[in-house]
């Protein structure tokens, strides 16, 4: 597989790799930098989830009819479900490449904490598949006729909720690493675990569309985020170790 080398990349890189440089080479930042660099040279990594999100969203008005009142009512749930599906689509391949080329084994053997490396991987994955969704969400909200307040809450809920889904997806991907039917299996594993995030997230937006305060739901979602951030990365590291044995 040969990669096209954009001229800018070919010429510009003369930076020495030394400790003093800004390029991090170890730990979670190192992994994140590596993944972003890889993704930057292979645009499908982040374009595909985004394209899927937009495509899935477009199905609903086509399927349900263009009645603005109806669309406004279903918008919170629809946007959230499409975000969830889009993230599940991209997350199941999260560790496959590293498993295939042996990088995963090097990470397990190295002196860096596996939890830190996993955290870096998750962060990169979120930046690639979750972040773009958050950025596009306002457009989606407006397309479905949500009010300004509701769009704000939608963005906030996705900002809190997409990391949760990435972390749960990482755990599922790590457990199902290398198995046949991996994609469907990851979906099945992660979906029940992701339902609370879906409920709180879309619930917050529903409250906003009804003119009620969304603070309670967003706080619950925030608490869920913290809990997931504490539990999911170590569990994922353990699952990777199990899957590689």
């Amino acid at each position: 597989m040969t990669a096209r080398v954009p001229a800018s990349l070919a010429e510009g890189r003369a930076a020495p790799v030394a400790p003093a440089r800004a390029t991090p080479s170890g730990g979670h930042l190192g992994v994140m930098a590596r993944d972003l660099r890889v993704a930057g040279r292979q645009r499908t990594a982040w374009l595909l989830p985004l394209a899927f999100f937009v495509a899935a969203l477009s199905l609903f008005p086509l399927g349900l009819g263009a009645d603005p009142t109806l669309l406004r009512r279903v918008a919170p749930g629809v946007v959230w479900v499409c975000a969830l599906l889009s993230m599940m689509l991209s997350v199941n391949q999260m560790f496959s490449a590293d498993l295939a080329d042996g990088s995963l084994e090097q990470m397990l053997i190295g002196r860096r904490s596996m939890v830190g490396l996993v955290a870096g991987r998750i962060l990169a994955q979120w930046l690639l598949s979750g972040g773009p969704l958050v950025l596009v969400a306002p457009l989606a909200g407006l397309a479905f006729g949500l009010s300004g307040d509701a769009v704000g809450v939608l963005v906030a809920s996705l900002l809190l909720g997409t990391p949760v889904m990435t972390m749960l997806g990482a755990l599922g991907a790590a457990l199902a690493l290398g198995l046949r039917n991996g994609a469907a299996l990851v979906f099945l594993l992660v979906l029940p675990l992701a339902m609370p995030a879906l409920v709180f997230g879309s619930g917050a937006v529903v409250a906003a569309t009804n003119g009620e305060p969304a603070g309670a739901a967003l706080s619950l979602l925030g608490a869920l985020l913290i809990l997931t951030a504490l539990v999911a990365p170590p569990a994922t590291a353990a699952a990777l170790r199990i899957s590689v044995e």
Partner: protein
């Protein structure tokens, strides 16, 4: 059973006792014993399917054996300190070099995992020795299989201190020049006090190695 003269933990870098491994319901080997001291090289030999790769992975701590234990400097392989981990190197069949990265980026990432970011000059020197001087900024995906293997082996040259190497078929895809270089370099590494355990179908020509034959589980003495 390989009978080794009794050694104390203090001198041995790696000590494997009573290792047994099963894969797919089949017992690959049992009662495997090995002691690796600094400055020694061991060539693990055996036919395909005899469990060489599994054994190597067990020794590296990637897989758990069905029985027995592996110790480095006296510590169990699953409870090594970061410093001890930093002195262990494993090279599998795959090179752990991502195709989308440049060679220098890939090598920097790998050495970063071991804890030491490496200056570019060192990377350049290591690659030059392997005949890849001009490839330092090339994308890994543009290298041939043999060149990628050389780059992966070059990564081992980036270490300051003598480490313990566990190499699985390191000579695969190397050309004649690469094979000669590998031989020389093994000798150097052993002279520095490092230890090597490798599996290979290609005999090592000049480097002094102890041969361990997995098929018969008998050991032979050092080659002259």
């Amino acid at each position: 059973m390989i009978s080794e003269p009794a050694r104390t933990d203090a001198t041995a870098l790696l000590q494997a006792t009573r290792l047994a491994c099963r894969r797919g319901g089949r017992r690959l080997f049992s009662g495997f014993e090995l002691t690796l001291e600094p400055g020694s090289a061991v060539w693990l030999r055996g036919p395909n399917g005899s469990g060489k790769t599994s054994l190597l992975r067990v020794l590296a701590g990637l897989a758990r054996p069905d029985d027995g234990e592996v110790r480095y400097d006296g510590a169990p392989v699953h409870a090594l300190s970061p410093v001890q981990r930093g002195r262990l190197r494993y090279l599998g069949h795959t090179n752990a070099l991502k195709s989308e990265l440049r060679v220098v980026e890939a090598l920097a990432f790998l050495s970063g995992l071991a804890g030491e970011p490496v200056p570019r000059a060192r990377v350049q020197a290591a690659l030059s020795r392997w005949g890849l001087a001009g490839k330092i900024d090339a994308l890994v995906g543009s290298l041939s299989q043999g060149q990628r293997r050389k780059a992966a082996l070059a990564r081992l040259m980036l270490d300051d201190e003598a480490c313990t190497w566990l190499l699985d078929e390191p000579q695969e895809a190397l050309d004649a020049e690469g094979l000669a270089l590998f031989d020389d370099w093994l000798t150097e590494h052993a002279a520095r006090g490092g230890a090597v355990l490798l599996t290979s179908h290609i005999p090592l020509r000049s480097a002094p190695v102890r041969v361990v034959d997995l098929a018969s589980l008998t050991g032979t003495g050092p080659r002259p």
